[in-house]
Symmetry: C2
Subunit: 470 residues, 2 copies
C-alpha cells in the first residue's frame, strides 16, 4: 500500500498504530453478513472528537471521501466502503468514554463508540434503564444506533433511538464540531439539527457523542405468550393491551405459524408453544413500576377479556424469568431458523397498524401466485407496525435458486403493496447501499428533492458517505 501524503497526515493526527492498511482493514471493509467486500485507502481510528475533526479536515483538503463506521453490524451495507480503494474508513470504536451520568436529569453522555450492551450495563449500574435493545447489542455502537435510528424490541413503549436522544456532538463535513450535547427536554431555539443528523447514516455529519435519556427501572417484567386466530385479532389484542396496560406495555411481537414451524423444526428443544393449532402467536411483555404480582393481575385481566372476546384462543404467562427468557429466545430464533433452512428473501417494512391485516392477506396471495408453494415467514413488532415480512423457498426447493430467480420480483410485489397501504420500505434498518436504488421508486419525489438539497447544503463536496441513502 502506497504511503500517500494523506495517509502520512492521518498518521500524524491519530498516531501510526491507528491508521490501518492492507489486510489489517479486512474486518472493517467486509459486511458482517459476508455479502459485500469493499476496499479502503485506509482505516483511521481517531481517539477523540478533536482527532475526528482533524481527520475530516485533511480528507476534505485531499478531496477524499469518508465512510464512518461504528460496530459494523448494519443490515443495509451503509458503512462498507466502495471497492475503489480511494475512501477513508473512519472507525469510531476507540471512542468509548462515558463522559457524564446525571441522575437527577436522567441522562448519560457518552462517546459514539460505546457498545450498546456496555451502555445498558452502565446505566443499569447507575440505577436506571436504557431501553434500547436489539440483536446486535453486543457489538453495535450507540453512534451507529443513532446514525441509523435503530429500533428494536421496546419501541412500542420507548420509541426508536431518536426518541432516546436529547443531544449530539457532531463533526460536520468541513470538520467543525457542533457541540449540541445539552440534556434538555425542551429547546425551541431554531431548527431541529439533532433529528436531522439522527438517521442520516453518516451522510450529513459524523456523530461523535450523544446525551441519551435514562428511564426508571421497572420493578418487574412479565411475559405472556398467546395464540391468536387472525391478524385482525392480533391487532384488536394490541388495542386492548394499550388500554389495559397503557405504557406498561413494552413488547408486542407477532409471529406466524410458518415462522414458528421453522423454529420448531431446527430447534425442537425450544418447545415452541401453541404453534401447531394457531395461525399466529403473540408475545407480550409488560414492565411494571410496582411489582410482579401487580403486573400479573393486569395481564390476567387483559387476557381474560381477550379470551372472552375471542381475540385469544390460548395463553400462558411466564412463571419466572427463565420461562420469560425462553419465550423471548423463541422469538429471537426465527432469523437463525430461517438461515438454517437456507438463504431467503427478507423485508423490513412498516405500515399503519390498522393496515397490516389487509396488507398481509393481499401480499400473501400475490406471492403464492408468483411462486407456488412459497413459504411466507412473517413476524415482527406489531406494536410499531413493523413487520419482517420474509419468504423462503418452497418445502424441499433449492434455496439459492429461489433467491436468484425471485428476489427481485418478490421485492417488487412486497414494496408495491407497501406503497399502496401507505407504508415504508425500511422500517428500522435504513437505506444504505442496499435499498438506495429502490428509494426513488417508493419515496415521494418532493421528499427526495428536499433531501438532495439538504445533502448539498451540509456536505457540498459530497465527502461524507457518498452514494449512501441518496
Amino acid at each position: 500500500m502506497m504511503q500517500t501524503p494523506l495517509i502520512a497526515a492521518l498518521q500524524r493526527i491519530v498516531g501510526e498504530a491507528h491508521v490501518l492498511l492492507g489486510d489489517a482493514t479486512a474486518q472493517y471493509v467486509t459486511d458482517w453478513r459476508q455479502r459485500t467486500h469493499g476496499q479502503a485507502l485506509c482505516v483511521v481510528r481517531p481517539g477523540s472528537t478533536e482527532e475526528v475533526s482533524q481527520v475530516v479536515k485533511v480528507c476534505a483538503q485531499a478531496g477524499v471521501s469518508i465512510v464512518p463506521q461504528g460496530g459494523n453490524t448494519g443490515l443495509v451495507e451503509g458503512s462498507i466502503p466502495q471497492d475503489t480503494g480511494q475512501q477513508v474508513l473512519l472507525s469510531l470504536r476507540r471512542m468509548q468514554a462515558v463522559r457524564a451520568i446525571d441522575a437527577h436529569n436522567m441522562t448519560i453522555t457518552v462517546d459514539a463508540g460505546v457498545v450498546l450492551q456496555s451502555l445498558q450495563k452502565q446505566v443499569d449500574e447507575a440505577g436506571f434503564l436504557f431501553p434500547l435493545s436489539l440483536g446486535a447489542e453486543g457489538s453495535c455502537t450507540i453512534g451507529g444506533n443513532l446514525a441509523t435510528n435503530a429500533g428494536g424490541t421496546q419501541v412500542v413503549r420507548y420509541g426508536n433511538t431518536r426518541d432516546l436522544c436529547l443531544g449530539l456532538e457532531v463533526v460536520t463535513a468541513d470538520g467543525q464540531v457542533w457541540e449540541g450535547l445539552q440534556g434538555l427536554r425542551k429547546d425551541n431555539t431554531g431548527y431541529d439539527l439533532r433529528n436531522l443528523f439522527i438517521g442520516s447514516e453518516g451522510t450529513l455529519g459524523i456523530i461523535t457523542a450523544a446525551t441519551m435519556r435514562m428511564y426508571p427501572k421497572p420493578a418487574a417484567q412479565l411475559t405472556a405468550w398467546t395464540a391468536v386466530p387472525t391478524l385482525e385479532a392480533a391487532s384488536a389484542l394490541l388495542a386492548l393491551a394499550h388500554q389495559h396496560l397503557a405504557s406498561a406495555l413494552t413488547g408486542f411481537e407477532v409471529m406466524n405459524q410458518q415462522a414458528l414451524a421453522l423454529v420448531d423444526s431446527h430447534y425442537p428443544h425450544l418447545r415452541v408453544p401453541m404453534w401447531q393449532d394457531s395461525p399466529f402467536c403473540v408475545l407480550l411483555e409488560a414492565s411494571d413500576s410496582e411489582s410482579e404480582s401487580h403486573a400479573r393481575t393486569l395481564f390476567e385481566r387483559l387476557l381474560e377479556e381477550a379470551m372472552e372476546q375471542e381475540m385469544v384462543a390460548d395463553a400462558i404467562i411466564a412463571e419466572n424469568l427463565k420461562q420469560a427468557h425462553d419465550l423471548w429466545h423463541i422469538r429471537e430464533s426465527i432469523t437463525l431458523a430461517q438461515a438454517a433452512e437456507g438463504v431467503n428473501v427478507k423485508h423490513d417494512i412498516s405500515l399503519p397498524v390498522s393496515r397490516i391485516p389487509a396488507f398481509v392477506e393481499e401480499t400473501d396471495e400475490a406471492l403464492r401466485a408468483l411462486v407456488p408453494g412459497i413459504r411466507l415467514v412473517n413476524f415482527g413488532h406489531l406494536g410499531d407496525g413493523n413487520l419482517h415480512y420474509n419468504t423462503q423457498a418452497p418445502e424441499g426447493g433449492d434455496a439459492a435458486a429461489f433467491v436468484a430467480q425471485f428476489e427481485g420480483a418478490i421485492g417488487d410485489v412486497v414494496y408495491q403493496a407497501v406503497l399502496r397501504h401507505g407504508g415504508s420500505i425500511s422500517a428500522e434498518h435504513g437505506i444504505g447501499t442496499l435499498k438506495r436504488d429502490k428509494l426513488p421508486h417508493y419515496k415521494s419525489p418532493v421528499a427526495l428533492q428536499l433531501m438532495h438539497r439538504i445533502k448539498a447544503a451540509l456536505d457540498p463536496d459530497n465527502l461524507l458517505n457518498p452514494g449512501r441513502v441518496l
Copy 2:
C-alpha cells in the same frame, strides 16, 4: 388599498371573500398581547392545500414574502407581518377538516387550522386522549402548535408537540406539496424532514395537515399539592415520583413563594394552600390506567416516603375533580396575577433538571444585586427542566419604569446564567422576532451556520417568514 396584480391573482385562487384588505386585516396583523402591530399587503385565507400551494406559487412569482399564521396566539411575534405592508399573511384558519381517525393505528389526521381544543374534543369522542394542553388551547391551531413545537403541562409524560406527530403535509417554498402524512411509528427511509419542519416557525415550509398520535384515555387523574423546603428537595421529589409513578406521572409543576403570594394577593378566593410557610410548592398529577383508588394508593406511598425523607413538609391529595381543578387553577393564575400586579419581565428558559437549583440560587442573587427589592416570580414545568423565570418591580415600585430601565440588563443576567448552566433561552415559545437578535449570542455558531445553510437550501429566495428565527 391598491388592487395589485398579485391581489387579483390571490382573489382568483381563494375567492374574493377570502382576501382581506385594509381594516379587515386588523386582527391578523396585531399580536394578541397588543405589543406589536404589523401591516400586510393582504390576508389570504386558503381553504385547501391546493389553494395554499397556488398562493405560494403566485407569491413566489411576484417575489412577495409570506407570513403563515394559525391562531395568532404565539408569544414571540413570529406570525405578525413586518410593518412594510408588502408581505402576504397566509392564515390557515379556514382549513378545519378532520381527514381521518384510525383507532387501531391510534392516529388522527387533521388540517393545520383545527383548533387545539377541538382536536382534543374529537379525539376524546373517539375514545382516546390527545395530551397536548396549554393556556391558548381555545384559539391556537395544531398547525401553529407544530410550527412552534408547543410544550404545555403534560410534556413530562407525552413530550412536546414534536413527539405527538407522526406525519406532515407541507407546502414548500416553491409551492410543491410534500405528502408526508403517513401514520408510521418507524420509517428509516432518509432524512427526518418531519422534525425539520416542526419548530421551524413557518420559515422552511407551510404545514397544511398532520397525522397526530392518540393515546389510551387514563381511567383516572389525581392531583396533589405539596410544600417543599428547597428546589433541591423539589428535584429529589421529581426523581422519587419518576420511580414510584413511572409514566403515570403526567404533571410536575413548581411554584415559588413569590408567585403564590401574587395569586393570593389578587385572587384571595382561590385559597392558595401552604404558600405562607413554604419557599416552594409542587403540584403533581398522576394519570392512572386502572382506577382512582389505585392512583391514590400510589400517591400516598410516594408522599409518605417523600415526607419521611424530608423532601416534602406538607401535602394534600385532591379529594375530587373540583378540588383538582381548583389546584390547577391556582397554577394557571400566576401569569394573570403577574399581569394584575403590573407589567413585568419574563423568561421562558430550560435547563438540565439537575442544574436548576444552582441556576436559581445564583441568578436570584445576581438579580437582587442588580435591582434591590426585585421580586422573583419563578414557576414552571420542573419535570421538563422548563422554568418561567420572571421578575416584577419591587413592592410598591413603578412597574413600567422597572421594565423600561431593567428589562435588557435582567435578560442579560438570566441568559448568561442559562448559557453557563447549559440551558436554552427559549424552552417552549420559540424565537420569532422577539428573541431573534438574542440567538447569535446564546446559540452555537456552528449550529447557526447549519441553520442558515438549511434555510438557504429550502427557501433560497427567503420568501417564507423572512427575518424570523434567523
